[in-house]
Structure formats: C-alpha cells, structure tokens
C-alpha cells in the first residue's frame, strides 16, 4: 500500500454568516486552488463533500461550480466526525489505486440539522447536545472530584489560543469568572463551556506518493488511521470515558508505529469543556481523571500543544468542516507555518474527531 500525503488546503473564516451551503463549499475550494498553482482540474479523480446539510448532490454541484469532472463524487455524513470520515475515504481511494488526486471539501451552516440526532429517542425530550454534555460533566466531576472551576480552564485556554487563529469564531479571550458567570444552560453547563455551531468551510487535497511532489515540497503524510463506532444512541455510552476514542487511538497509533508520548501536537474534539480532559485520557496522553492536570500545566506556560487553533470551543464548530479544519491545523503545525500558534519542533501530530457524545471516533496520525 503506497503512502498518502496531504499537499494543499483552503479554509474560510468561521462565522455566523447566512450563506448558502454551496457558497461555503466553493469558497474554501477556491482558496485551495489559490494555494495550489500547479493543480489542474482534470487531474482530480475524486471530489468528496463532508456535510450534514440536507441539500442533495453537493459533490456533483461543487464539481460543476469548480469546473471539475471527477471519476468519483459523493457526500459523506457521519454527524460531527464527517470531516475525518471523508479524509479516511479519500485515503482509501488513493491507497486502493482507484484515485491519485482527491479533493475533500467540508462545509456547514450555523443552523445545521446535524446538531440533533432525531433517531435517538432514548434521549426522550432531551435530544439537544447540551443534555448529554451535562450528564457527561456531572459524571466526570463526580468520578474524579473535578470542579466547575477546573473545567472552566478548558474554555479559558481554548478561547485564548483561538485569538491567534485568524479563522476562529471567537473574538476575545475570557477569564475564569467570565466562563463561570456565563449564561447557565443547566446546573452542570454554562454557555462558555460549549463549542458554538457556525458557518464555515475547509478543503484539503490528498494525493498518492508519486503525485505529491507536483504540488508541494513539504507533504504531510497520513501514517495512522483508527476508527471505532460503539453505538448511535447516547444511552449505550460510558459517561466519563470515551471508549470509541480509546479504541480508535490505539488502532491509529499502532498503524503509525508510534505511542501517544511521541505526539508533539494534537487537535482534540472539545465539543464541550469536559470533552477535552476526557479525550486526553481516552487518547492515552494521561491517566483517567488526570486530564485537567495536563491542561492546567499547558495553560500555565502558554504551551499550545493541545488544540492550538483554539479547538472547537475557540474556533467554532461547523460540523462537516470541523474534522478537516482540525487536520489543516496539524498540517500547518508540521509544516512550521502556524505563526503565533506554532508548537516547537512539531514532527508528529494527532487529530481526534468524534460524533454524538463520543459514540463514534476517528483518530488520524500525521507526520512530516
């Protein structure tokens, strides 16, 4: 199986804009073309669109609007981890020899239908994500003696880091008191503990090893992929640990022949503040219940190792674009072009993208 590299990308600012989904898709694709002077339209074998939008045939639409006539064109939807699922599909097309050059474009509108999983009736009247997040938070705090003040640090850190991300939704840094006094959604969740739905697009170009050098001298290789789906419904979940993440991480690290201690920089799926320590524990960065210690230590010394672009809390969460935006961040980090967000000596990076309260997870390992 040949290597698969990431050779270009394009991303839009994340906003509350009322733009049509097709416009959002086109905008980041145009930026990708602007960044890829050697890319000709007839080289693109596949166009994959990642979104939860209800519009149909978006891959063919994006292809037509971009003047591409690909062999393979379709949409990929898996709620919040649609983006990395689309990247895994692109990888598979290339590794199998069905394609050499694949464009993946993710987009979402602020009013995405992907925020609510209508099927999951076991959640009763409590289908909005703030309810599973409240139950996760309560359970995590109870199990590991963590306080609201501890968890507020996640939001403070990620909004702080987002101020160095020109595409982030967040426009300001917040204090611990700002987070603790922000609008109360439930007894266990405040507004600033949440990532916010928004409008945004992110595109990425993947190629087989032979094609990489045409587009860049500095390809980033996907060396590990792990995925796991435990269930669709929230009520089958563990409440203070992400089992799908643990299994996906273990597979991805095994494939890349690395261990979590070798990871220099990571984007983790902080849909809500409690998700960041839980993810760090489930990914193997630290022991169960110790995620907040790691976060506090990094925050205290302004180390951007975890969620340098501000994560979902700081950047905003345009569902179908999120996994691709996370991947672009790690690519920029490994190419040493992340400007004020740059983590020192970043050689190996990790992307963690999950869906529906961690019922499904994708983990990617990227390397120079």
């Amino acid at each position: 199986m040949g290597k698969v590299g990431i050779v270009s990308y394009g991303i839009t600012p994340f906003s509350k804009d009322d733009s049509k989904i097709e416009s959002v898709l086109l905008k980041s694709t145009k930026k990708l073309f602007d960044n890829s002077p050697n890319l000709s339209r007839n080289e693109i074998d596949a166009v994959l669109v990642s979104t939860n939008n209800n519009s149909k045939y978006l891959s063919a639409i994006l292809s037509e609007m971009s003047g591409i006539q690909p062999k393979i064109a379709h949409t990929i939807e898996s709620l919040c981890n649609s983006g990395t699922n689309a990247i895994v599909s692109a990888y598979s097309y290339i590794a199998s020899g069905l394609a050499d050059v694949v464009l993946v474009s993710g987009a979402e509108r602020y009013d995405s239908p992907g925020q609510i999983l209508e099927w999951d009736n076991s959640r009763g009247e409590f289908k909005h994500p703030i309810f599973w997040a409240s139950i996760f938070t309560k359970s995590y705090k109870r199990e590991f003696s963590i306080t609201d003040e501890d968890l507020a640090i996640v939001s403070v850190k990620n909004h702080k880091q987002a101020q160095n991300n020109p595409n982030a939704l967040s426009e300001k840094a917040y204090s611990l008191d700002d987070v603790l006094n922000s609008k109360k959604l439930t007894d266990d969740l405040r507004l600033l503990n949440c990532s916010r739905p928004c409008t945004g697009g992110a595109s990425i170009l993947l190629t087989s090893e032979d094609f990489c050098s045409k587009f860049t001298d500095d390809p980033i290789w996907i060396t590990g992929i792990g995925q796991k789906t435990i269930s669709a419904g929230f009520t089958k979940n563990t409440l203070n640990y992400m089992e799908s993440t643990r299994l996906a991480s273990s597979s991805a690290l095994k494939m890349s022949k690395h261990s979590s201690s070798e990871i220099d920089v990571a984007e983790v799926h902080d849909a809500f503040s409690v998700c960041e320590p839980m993810a760090l524990e489930s990914l193997g960065f630290t022991d169960k219940g110790k995620g907040m210690n790691m976060i506090k230590e990094l925050h205290a010394v302004n180390n951007f190792k975890i969620n340098p672009r501000g994560g979902l809390i700081g950047s905003g969460h345009p569902l179908g674009a999120t996994g691709i935006a996370q991947t672009i961040e790690i690519v920029q980090q490994l190419q040493t072009c992340a400007n004020k967000r740059q983590v020192d000596n970043a050689m190996i990076g990790l992307v963690h993208n999950m869906s529906a309260a961690g019922t499904s997870s994708t983990v990617l390992i990227l390397e120079k």
């Binding site: 999951d120 009736n121 076991s122 009247e125 409240s134 969740l189």
Partner: protein, 105 residues
C-alpha cells in the same frame, strides 16, 4: 412499531427476543444479536438513576431499567440521587418524540 403504538397510550413495553431472550434496546422489530422475532411485554416499573442534572426548576436523569434499557426523562418532584430507584409515572409521545417522567421511590 408496537412499541410506539403502546407508548402513545402511556405503556412502556420491552422488546425481548423469542430465541436468545435478550432485551433489544432501542426497540426494534428484530433482535440485534440474532435477528430473530421479538416478543413485546411490559417493562419492569422499577428503574435506577445512573446520572442526572437540572435545567430551570426540573431535574432530568438517565435511568436504567432491567439492566438493559436506558432513557432520559424528568423527575416529577423531589431531589434525585445517583443510584436512587424510580418508577415511571408518565410516558408517551409528543409528535414523534418520546417523553418519560419518573417519580422517586
């Protein structure tokens, strides 16, 4: 599906496989372990609070029945505790959404 017809009448039914006797949750017309037919029966009325939180002036909690079925619903009155037992006081459907209300035991 029988489950929803009964739930609309306020009855909480369980799907149990006729072959392997496993409870199928969420309810389905076939067993998710062996794809055999299922049998409908009344759910045990006694459940246990797995976790809870509060919005406005009501508590919502994740409750487990028969070690197999978990649903989220409201507490009708009182302050819940983890592992406390509850009964289904009211259940049904509003439009296409299920709802459950529990009373503390």
């Amino acid at each position: 599906m029988t489950f929803e017809v009964e739930l609309r009448k306020g009855n909480f039914q369980v799907a149990e496989c006729i072959n392997c006797k496993k409870i199928v949750w969420p309810p389905s017309d076939f067993c998710n372990q062996c794809f055999n037919e299922i049998n409908w029966r009344k759910c045990a009325n006694d459940g246990k609070i797995i976790e809870f939180s509060k919005q406005y002036d009501y508590y919502f909690c994740l409750v487990e029945f028969e070690n197999a079925i978990k649903v989220i619903g409201k507490i009708s009155s009182g302050i819940p505790n983890k592992d406390q037992h509850v009964r289904i006081q009211r259940c049904g459907m509003t439009n296409d959404n299920y709802f459950f209300e529990f009373s503390l035991i």
